[in-house]
């Protein structure tokens, strides 16, 4: 397979702080890779190094075989980039903004115009393409940013928080679009996000990035299995003491964590050899009403939290 992005022991230090710590990453053409992590984990720094906008302290990066440190222009020619909280010239229309990007990329005028119309169509901005970008909503700017990143017809597309300001419906649409782009055009796609449920849906592989380190990397299903947590979350109604007693008596249970506050809530149970039906039967026999049982570790969210507990504080808001 064709490697689009490769980094070896990539490190970036700012004085005492190590923002990115020996990152080894490999992304192939046509692959959608999600870089997950809280703000400040080093995602943006990594992206800047891939683009040649920040110089690595040590280690190497290659984008399509090009070293962005030595040949930044060659790298920037083939890498489309949508920055976090992208901005546009407010007095220019969406179309004029894209036209500027096309010129900066040396596209011939006619070809540029065609591509711009096509892209505006693609991201669903055709109706607003001739109003000033200053009148756009955050979500529209994000869409325009996506079109902007595509103007140069990139081989590699890097999207920093691409769905941060888009409404839920739009997110599904945009992510679908992003995925089909990668698949149809064979574009390698790296997207960073702290909203993992979105990432989970579109990514072939994800990497969980905490405090400059890639602490887990693989297909979402693989990660779920490797997480292998024997924890269930169970929603029951009844008196706290009774529930606690019944849960503790259930087969194999090692720890019981009550829900925060009083009243009904979700209890977390960790068991050595998790036998969910047996636990449910025990509780039912004790006369406790069960309204929800969920096995943790089957959702990327849980993996994320699991890894986070070892990492730094988290600001995720999904």
């Amino acid at each position: 397979m064709d490697t689009a992005i490769a980094s070896r022991a990539l490190t970036k230090r700012y004085g005492e702080l190590t923002a990115v710590d020996h990152l080894d990453l490999e992304i192939e053409r046509g692959e959608v890779f999600g870089l997950l992590g809280p703000n400040g984990a080093g995602k943006t720094t990594t992206i800047l190094m891939l683009l040649g906008l920040a110089e690595p302290s040590s280690g190497t990066v290659r984008v399509a075989g090009i070293d962005p440190v030595r040949q930044p222009l060659d790298a920037k020619r083939i890498v489309g980039y949508l920055p976090d909280s992208v901005g546009f010239y407010e007095s220019l229309t969406g179309r004029e903004n894209l036209r500027y990007t096309a010129r900066l990329n040396g596209l011939p005028r006619v070809m540029g115009e065609e591509r711009i119309s096509e892209l505006l169509d693609l991201v669903g901005l055709n109706g607003a393409s001739d109003s000033p970008a200053g009148t756009y909503s955050r979500g529209m700017l994000q869409r325009l940013g996506l079109a902007d990143a595509l103007v140069k017809d990139p081989e590699i597309l890097i999207l920093d928080e691409p769905t941060a300001a888009i409404d839920p419906e739009g997110v599904i649409e945009i992510l679908g679009l992003i995925r089909s782009l990668a698949k149809e055009r064979g574009v390698a796609l790296l997207l960073s996000s702290h909203l993992l449920n979105q990432v989970q849906a579109v990514c072939d592989r994800v990497g969980i990035f905490v405090a400059g380190k890639l602490i887990a990397c693989g297909r979402p299903e693989e990660l779920v299995e490797s997480g292998g947590l024997s924890t269930i979350e169970i929603g029951v109604t009844g008196a706290g003491n009774e529930i606690r007693a019944a849960l503790a008596a259930a087969p194999g249970v090692t720890t019981v964590v009550p829900p925060p506050g009083t009243g009904p809530g979700l209890w977390q149970i960790t068991a050595a050899a998790l036998d969910v039906p047996a636990i449910v039967r025990t509780l039912a026999a004790a006369g406790i009403d069960i309204w929800q049982v969920r096995r943790l570790g089957t959702d990327l969210a849980d993996i994320y939290h699991h890894f986070f507990e070892q990492g730094t504080t988290d600001d995720d808001d999904h």
């Binding site: 920037k76 920055p83 546009f88």
Partner: protein, 330 residues
């Protein structure tokens, strides 16, 4: 490597040298439509027309004495008369920094504020293309503005006074225009430097304006004090000491672009000026007042012109270095 890469490589060799042109073209279009351009043009035109109109009236009033005076046409630009307190060249000297700062203070910080900078530098252009393109566009707009102004004012003067410039007067005026544009160019470069170094456009404008005010208002005082320290001239100083003090003071003051512009202007627009340095009374004794030829005047102000270009180059160099070392994040 795949064919796509090769294709894109070929088209970029073509555009590599044109990155700054693309930036300049866009900025030019922006400037020409911007409110600041229109407002500055109106203010400048009114002030300049007023200055020249007043000067013309002044000359007409003293026409009998003035007849036969050399370079009467250039006097239009150099004398002030009621009700305008400034001559045209002093006015431009005063407004040039404002022009330069107005077109430069948000060059980079404005992009930063709009969030367009990360996108811009992720395009296949060098970072200095951004600065160069913006500088060229700004200087072009200002150049067009000043040239138009000088032409209008000269026309007005011809109309009011009924005298036409001689060839050498026209060339002097043209040379002065070049110096004025260089002078604005320095302030534009300095304001661009501020916009690179400071995150916010407002602080960049503040620093640039403050620098200009300090140079314009307090530089003379500072230079005087410094000269007193370096080459003291006590009350009982000898002539040599006094001369040394005056020379040190003058050389120090030439670190300021304002002095450079004033020196160059006075020598270019007034052919009778024979030195921009320290002149003693003995040297003037029995000197015959004649006009310097154009090439002699140019020779006289050549160091000033070089000085202005050098100051501009230094501002640019610092701006480049700072910009290159900056990490651009959203």
């Amino acid at each position: 490597m795949t064919t796509t890469t090769e294709d894109s490589t070929t088209f970029v060799t073509r555009q590599r040298s044109h990155g700054w042109r693309v930036v300049a073209r866009k900025e030019l279009a922006d400037y020409l439509l911007s409110a600041r351009f229109i407002v500055l043009l109106i203010i400048l035109s009114l002030a300049a027309a007023g200055a020249v109109y007043a000067a013309a009236s002044g000359i007409r009033d003293v026409a009998p004495q003035a007849s036969g005076a050399p370079s009467l046409f250039l006097r239009l630009f150099t004398i002030s008369a009621d009700p305008m307190p400034f001559s045209f060249f002093a006015l431009i000297g005063f407004l040039a920094p404002i022009l330069g700062i107005a077109f430069g203070f948000d060059a980079i910080s404005g992009e930063r504020a709009q969030g367009t900078l990360p996108r811009l530098i992720a395009q296949p252009i060098h970072r200095d293309d951004v600065i160069n393109g913006k500088y060229v566009a700004g200087l072009f707009v200002i150049g067009v503005m000043l040239t138009t102004l000088v032409l209008i004012v000269a026309g007005l003067g011809i109309f009011r006074l009924g005298i036409t410039p001689t060839f050498s007067e026209a060339i002097r005026l043209l040379m002065w225009l070049v110096v004025a544009i260089l002078y604005v160019g320095f302030w534009l470069a300095f304001a661009t430097l501020c916009s690179v170094a400071l995150r916010r456009a407002s602080s960049s404008a503040m620093v640039a304006i403050a620098t200009w005010l300090v140079l314009a208002l307090f530089a003379a005082l500072l230079v005087h004090l410094l000269a007193g320290v370096i080459a003291p001239a006590p009350a009982d100083a000898t002539n040599a000491e006094l001369l040394h003090n005056a020379q040190v003071e003058q050389n120090l003051s030439r670190l300021s672009p304002i002095t450079l512009y004033d020196d160059a202007t006075s020598a270019l627009l007034d052919p009778e000026v024979r030195s921009v340095g320290v002149v003693t009374v003995q040297q003037l004794d029995r000197a015959i007042v004649t006009d310097l030829s154009l090439d002699q005047s140019l020779l006289l102000v050549w160091p000033q012109i070089v000085g202005l270009v050098a100051l501009t180059a230094v501002s640019f160099a610092v701006a480049y270095v700072v910009f290159m070392r900056q990490e651009i994040r959203a």
